[in-house]
Amino acid sequence: MSASRPLDAGPPLAATVVARVEESPGVFTLRVRLDDPGAQAAYRFAPGQFNMLYLYGAGEVPISIMSDPEERDAIGHTIRAVGRVTQGLAALGPGDAIGLRGPFGRGWPLREVSGSDVVLVTGGLGCAPAVSVIHYVLRRRERFGKLVIIQGVRHADDLIWREHYDRWAKLPATQVLVAADVATPLWPWHVGRVTDLFGLARFDPEGAVAMMCGPEGMMRTAGNGLLALGLPEARLYLSMERNMQCAVGRCGHCQIGAAFVCHDGPVFSWGEMKTLLGRRGF
C-alpha cells in the first residue's frame, strides 16, 4: 500500500492489463500495472491479501494477489470465470483498462514461520491464495524447512496447473500429494480424499505451520486431521471467502460471526474460525 493512499472505499486506481495467460479452460491470469508509475512503484502487499478488481460498468470483485511481493512491474491475479464480473474480466487482453484498489486484509503469517516446515492443504478448483505461498516459499527456499503441498479435487479434470504440480514434485525437500475423489485413466496420484494423504506426508508436525484454503467442509476435516497428527492449533491457518462489496469492513456482507473477513481476514488462525467454520448460515 502506497503511503500516499489511505485504505478507503475508493475510487479505484486506473490500471492496465499487461498480459493475459490462459491457465486452463475458464481460468486465466491477468497481470496488471497501475497507470500511475509512482503508485505502481509504491504498491506493496503480502501473499494472502487481495485486491478489488473493477470492470467498467459491471462492478468489483475480490481477487487474491498471485504475483511475488518483490515483483515491482506488475500485479498478478489468477481468476476463474464464474459469473458476471469474472466473465467480463476473462474477455480482457493486454492494453485493456480496469480499476484496482487494494491490497486488503491480512495475509499469511509468512514472516513468523520462517525456519518451519510448511504444509499447504488446498481443495477444490485451484486455490490462488495457496499458490501464491508456494511461489513465495520456492523463491526463498533457504528460509523454510520442508514444503508439503497437499491438493484435493473432486474430479481429476478439475486439477489446474497440473504441470506445476509435476514440476514442484521434482524439487528437493518438496513433497506433492494430490488426490481426486474421481480419477481418470492415467491419473498418476491418489484416488480418494485429501485426508487420506496425511499418512504419506513427511514433516515435523510439532514445528510445522499449515495453511489451508478451499471448501469449508474440507478445511474442517483437514484441520482436525492435522491437529490429530500433533500440529499445534496456533500454527494452523486458513483463508476464508465471503461475499465482498466494500473490502474495508463497512458493508457487512463478509461477516462470519463477529469477524469481517475483508478486514480481519481473509487469513485466520484455526482458533479464530473453528467454531463457525463450515457452520451452515455463517
Binding site: 485504505l7 478507503d8 472505499a9 475508493g10 475510487p11 479505484p12 486506481l13 486506473a14 473493477y54 467498467y56 460498468g57 459491471a58 462492478g59 468489483e60 464464474v82 459469473g83 469474472t86 485493456d96 483498462a97 480496469i98 480499476g99 471467502e241 465471503r242 461475499n243 462489496q245 466494500c246 474495508v248 469492513g249 463497512r250 458493508c251 457487512g252 456482507h253 461477516q255 460471526g257 463477529a258 478486514h263 457452520r279 451452515r280 448460515g281 455463517f282
Partner: protein, 373 residues
C-alpha cells in the same frame, strides 16, 4: 445526566419558535415531525413556527397509527420508522464516478458530499445511542468513511426526553433511554408550561447562550426526573441487556429458529427501520450513453437473497439462517464488534414487522427464561 442543576434553562411553551428561528438563523435546515404516508417522518419545517403540536402514536406488534394528543404537546409522539440514520448514513449515495473515453481509458473520480446543515428536532435517546454505534462503525480510526463523516459533522441534534413511550419501546431495559444522556447538541424535556433545555456540546452551548434563557427551577428539574422515571416504568417490554453476550451463539440449534422462520417473511423491514444496521450493497449504475458510470452504495439487509451470495453457494439460503443471522448479530456478536448490543430498544422492528414478530419475545423463547438481567 440531563437535566443538571445550574446548567439547564427554561423555554416557555410559546417560545418554541425562538429556538427553531435561532437554528434557522445559523443556517440550519430545521427538520421536525411531519405526518407522511400515515407515519411520522422528519421533514423540513418551512417557518420557525411550523413545528406541529398534538401528534401522538399508537404502536404495537405490526401496528403503527398517528393519533391526536389531547394535551396538544409538541413531543407526545414516539418514534417514526426512521430516526437519524438516513441523515448520517444516506440510504443511497454515489461513492465514485468513472468515465470511459473513446479509446477505452478509464478515469476515476471521487464523489464528494456537500452535506446539508440539518437540525433534527425531536431526536430520542435510543436514536442517539444508535448514532453513537454508527459513529464507531463509520469513523473507526484508520478507516473513516468520508461521506458519513461529512453528513455527521453537519448535523445539529435537538434531543427530547420521551414522556410517552410507545407500547413497543424498551429503551429503559437496554439502558439507552427514555431520557437523553449524551450525544446531543441540545436536550429538551417538555413540561406543561414549557421546556427544560440544556446544551451538550459547544455548538449547542452557542445556541443555548443565544436564547438567553432563565434558569430552570428546582421544581421543574424534579418534574423532568419524575417524568423520565414514569416513562421508564411504563415500558412493558424488555431485554436482559447485561446478559445478551453469548446467549444466542450458544443456542444456534434451538427449535425456535424454525418456528420464527415459519412466520418471518424475510421482507427486510426490521433491518431497514433499525437505527443501528450498517449493511449496504455497492452497485454500478451506467449512464444511458454508456460513457460514465456511478458506483453507489444502497442500504442492504441480511434478509436479502444476495447478501450471502457466493458463486455457486449461498451462505444463508433460507429464512431460518437469515433471521438467525439478524438476531445473533444484533444481540450477541455485536458485543465483540462494538462492546455493547446492537439493540437500543427503539421498538421499530416490532411495530414495522408485517408478521408481528417481536424480538423480545423471540429472545425470551430462545433462552426459555434461562437468561435474565
Amino acid at each position: 445526566m440531563f437535566p443538571r442543576t445550574g446548567r439547564a434553562g427554561f423555554l416557555p411553551l410559546g417560545e418554541m419558535p425562538r429556538l427553531v428561528g435561532e437554528l434557522m438563523r445559523l443556517g440550519y435546515e430545521c427538520l421536525g415531525p411531519t405526518v407522511e404516508n400515515g407515519a411520522i417522518a422528519m421533514r423540513g419545517l418551512a417557518t420557525a413556527d411550523a413545528l406541529p403540536r398534538g401528534l401522538k402514536t399508537e404502536q404495537e406488534k405490526g401496528t403503527y397509527r398517528v393519533t391526536r394528543d389531547p394535551a396538544n404537546r409538541y413531543f407526545a409522539w414516539a418514534n417514526g420508522p426512521q430516526g437519524i440514520r438516513p441523515h448520517a448514513f444516506a440510504s443511497r449515495e454515489s461513492l465514485w464516478r468513472v468515465a470511459r473515453d473513446t479509446g477505452g481509458a478509464l478515469s476515476f473520480e471521487p464523489v464528494t458530499v456537500d452535506a446539508p446543515k440539518q437540525a433534527l428536532i425531536g431526536v430520542r435517546a435510543c436514536d442517539l445511542a444508535a448514532l453513537a454505534i454508527q459513529d464507531t462503525h463509520f469513523l473507526r480510526g484508520g478507516r473513516v468513511d468520508a461521506h458519513y463523516a461529512a453528513r455527521r459533522a453537519a448535523l445539529f441534534l435537538v434531543a427530547v426526553q420521551c414522556a410517552e413511550p410507545a407500547a413497543t419501546c424498551f429503551c429503559a431495559s437496554t439502558g439507552d433511554g427514555p431520557t437523553p444522556v449524551t450525544g446531543y447538541d441540545l436536550a429538551l424535556a417538555e413540561l406543561a408550561e414549557g421546556f427544560v433545555v440544556e446544551a451538550g456540546s459547544e455548538k449547542g452551548q452557542a445556541v443555548f447562550d443565544g436564547l438567553n434563557l432563565p434558569p430552570a427551577s428546582d421544581a421543574q428539574l424534579a418534574s423532568v426526573r419524575t417524568q423520565g422515571e414514569a416513562a421508564a416504568a411504563a415500558q412493558t417490554r424488555s431485554l436482559p441487556a447485561a446478559a445478551l453476550h453469548g446467549a444466542l451463539m450458544s443456542r444456534l440449534d434451538h427449535p425456535r429458529w424454525d418456528d420464527v422462520a415459519a412466520r418471518c417473511l424475510a421482507c427486510t423491514n426490521c433491518t431497514l427501520v433499525c437505527p443501528t444496521c450498517f449493511c449496504h450493497a455497492e452497485v454500478d449504475e451506467v449512464a444511458v450513453d454508456g460513457d460514465t458510470t456511478e458506483h453507489a452504495r444502497v442500504w442492504d439487509s441480511c434478509f436479502g437473497e444476495a447478501h450471502g451470495h457466493l458463486h455457486g453457494f449461498n451462505v444463508r439460503p433460507d429464512v431460518r439462517t437469515r433471521y438467525r443471522q439478524w438476531l445473533t448479530h444484533k444481540l450477541d456478536t455485536w458485543h465483540d464488534q462494538f462492546g455493547r448490543s446492537g439493540c437500543v430498544g427503539c421498538g421499530r422492528c416490532i411495530a414495522w414487522c408485517p408478521a408481528g414478530i417481536d424480538l423480545t419475545e423471540e429472545f425470551a423463547a430462545l433462552t426459555a427464561g434461562e437468561v435474565a438481567a
